[in-house]
Symmetry: C2
Subunit: 328 residues, 2 copies
């Protein structure tokens, strides 16, 4: 099948670049040094390639992602890096012999883990991002509570999400160190073998975590593309020009084809003016029927909009994969 036979907007992955990115990361962080985050791609076919590259454990953001990974035979060592107030669906996976470790950061989330049938947890520590995670000074006490509830505490996690996107590499490294000093202090109180942290933006400078939770590296986006990382842009949305005038053109990919929180998509040789539900207006104008290849500003919420993604090489469509970890 040729690429011009795809219904547009078409989400496509450059096969060579995906392969390069996965190999480059596996070289830098081999085996269990990387716990790839599946929230970035939500696609078990991509997770299988990451497993083939040597990574046995995966990070998930939702229960559905855990369920889908187990269904795909990738449930050897999953970390749900998020808190739950009802862990029964995870407990059902554990009862069926999947290994799922859950993040906890409060008495309530520990109680949910224990009563839901989860056996293993990590203490989630706030290392500076205004999101989940306990105060570093509370981590040891929470670990004691978790153990008293019969839970195995595998260690700590702490996501430096306020750092991973900083464009200045030295500032990124400096703030990553500050965050990890907080996490290591918590780990000293908690114990366990895992210190889980990091993302694509800190995969190389975070030398304190025992495992890095990077996900975006496999596909990349405009935002991460600004950081000077070795990973190549592998994800695109192909659209067709459906209308054109002397000043601008309109192609058939819009707000429902792109995560928009990081701004408009970009396209080589084109200036994107704005997106509507099913349109992107850009200049300079091109001919009706021409293809426009767009780069999403943010990979994760872009993948979540699409039912499927096409693996392409030049003009050839090699495979079509369901984005099977969507929803909740």
């Amino acid at each position: 099948m040729k690429i011009d036979a795809l219904a547009t907007p078409a989400l496509v992955i450059d096969a060579g670049r995906l392969d390069f990115n996965i190999k480059e990361m596996a070289r830098a962080l081999p085996g269990d040094r990387l716990r790839p985050h599946v929230k970035a791609h939500k696609c078990t076919e991509i997770a299988k390639l990451q497993a083939l590259a040597g990574h046995r454990g995966f990070t998930c953001a939702t229960i559905r992602e855990c369920e889908g990974m187990v269904a795909a035979g990738l449930g050897e060592d999953l970390l749900l890096a998020n808190e739950l107030v009802d862990a029964r669906r995870l407990g059902a996976l554990v009862a069926n012999r999947a290994r799922v470790t859950l993040a906890v950061d409060s008495l309530e989330s520990i109680a949910a883990a224990a009563s839901g049938g989860v056996h293993e947890v990590v203490i989630d520590v706030n290392v500076g991002l205004q999101r989940c995670g306990c105060d570093p000074g509370e981590a040891g006490r929470l670990a004691d509570v978790a153990r008293s509830r019969g839970l195995e505490v595998r260690g700590v996690m702490g996501y430096e999400g306020h750092v991973v996107g900083l464009e200045d590499a030295s500032e990124r490294a400096r703030l990553c160190r500050e965050s990890m000093e907080l996490l290591l202090a918590a780990h000293a109180q908690v114990g366990g073998s895992l210190v889980s942290a990091g993302g694509t933006g800190t995969y190389d400078c975070n030398t304190w975590a025992t495992e890095i939770q990077a996900g975006s590296y496999a596909l990349m986006d405009v935002a991460y593309g600004r950081l000077g990382l070795p990973f190549r842009q592998a994800l695109f949305v192909d659209a067709i020009v459906i209308s054109s005038c002397s000043q601008w053109s309109v192609a058939d990919a819009g707000l429902k084809a792109f995560g928009m929180d990081h701004g408009n998509p970009e396209a080589e040789g084109a200036d994107v003016w704005f997106c509507s539900d099913e349109h992107v207006t850009f200049g300079p104008p091109r001919r009706v029927g021409d293809m426009l290849r767009l780069v999403p500003a943010h990979v994760d919420p872009t993948m979540a909009y699409h039912e499927r993604v096409h693996l392409v090489s030049g003009d050839d469509v090699l495979e079509t994969w369901p984005i099977d970890l969507r929803g909740w």
Copy 2:
């Protein structure tokens, strides 16, 4: 079923408000004066309620929306208000006795309509939005070309999308008039019975169009909520607080649950700080396990993220509907 049994994030519709909005619009624009736009909700169960309120024709933005409407028995008079370079999937619907009218604005889109098996078109006219539509002065010539290709030209359409969101009502009305003067000038050259235009923001001031293409009115969002229209906010995303500290809380609805192009969702009594993939951070803090009801900033791309929506009345879940017009 009670609302607290729903997996979160849960997309919910207040049944009473949906009913109010549909009735209020049917009172203002009865029967064929409204051609509801299904892109706003992408849900045939909601379209069925709009049909029950007396509207026989519908507006669509994608081929998939047309196909889904026909499959649901709502293919009596569909307008695909968008250009195509390949209309064969629409032609297949027409061959199966659905009535589908296609927007055209160029020789290429006319050729696609004719060769794809579509029989009826409207000339799409640019009335000021930098998107699709021909120059008003070209509309008559394009209509002649379309007729020479054997197409029935039902009239014109022209969407004043640059006007519908203006918060100043008198400015909205003034610019709507300017846009419709362009459209009526084109219509004088084109002929046909249809002058199709408008949206929720201009449903009352656009008195020149023969039919209004409003869609958002049924569910509403933060952006349209600022215009002082009589329609009530009917759509919400319910999330659960999963983490809390002394300064903020985090609930489990994020970038993959909301169209973000109009900004963050809002919540009564809460100040939304920021969204991550699966989180919203807000203050002041609430207790872990509490429910947070969020209002999406933009309805259309929010609906497109979710597999299903729950119709609720107070704490009761009355029905669960698939959002079956998603994708392409």
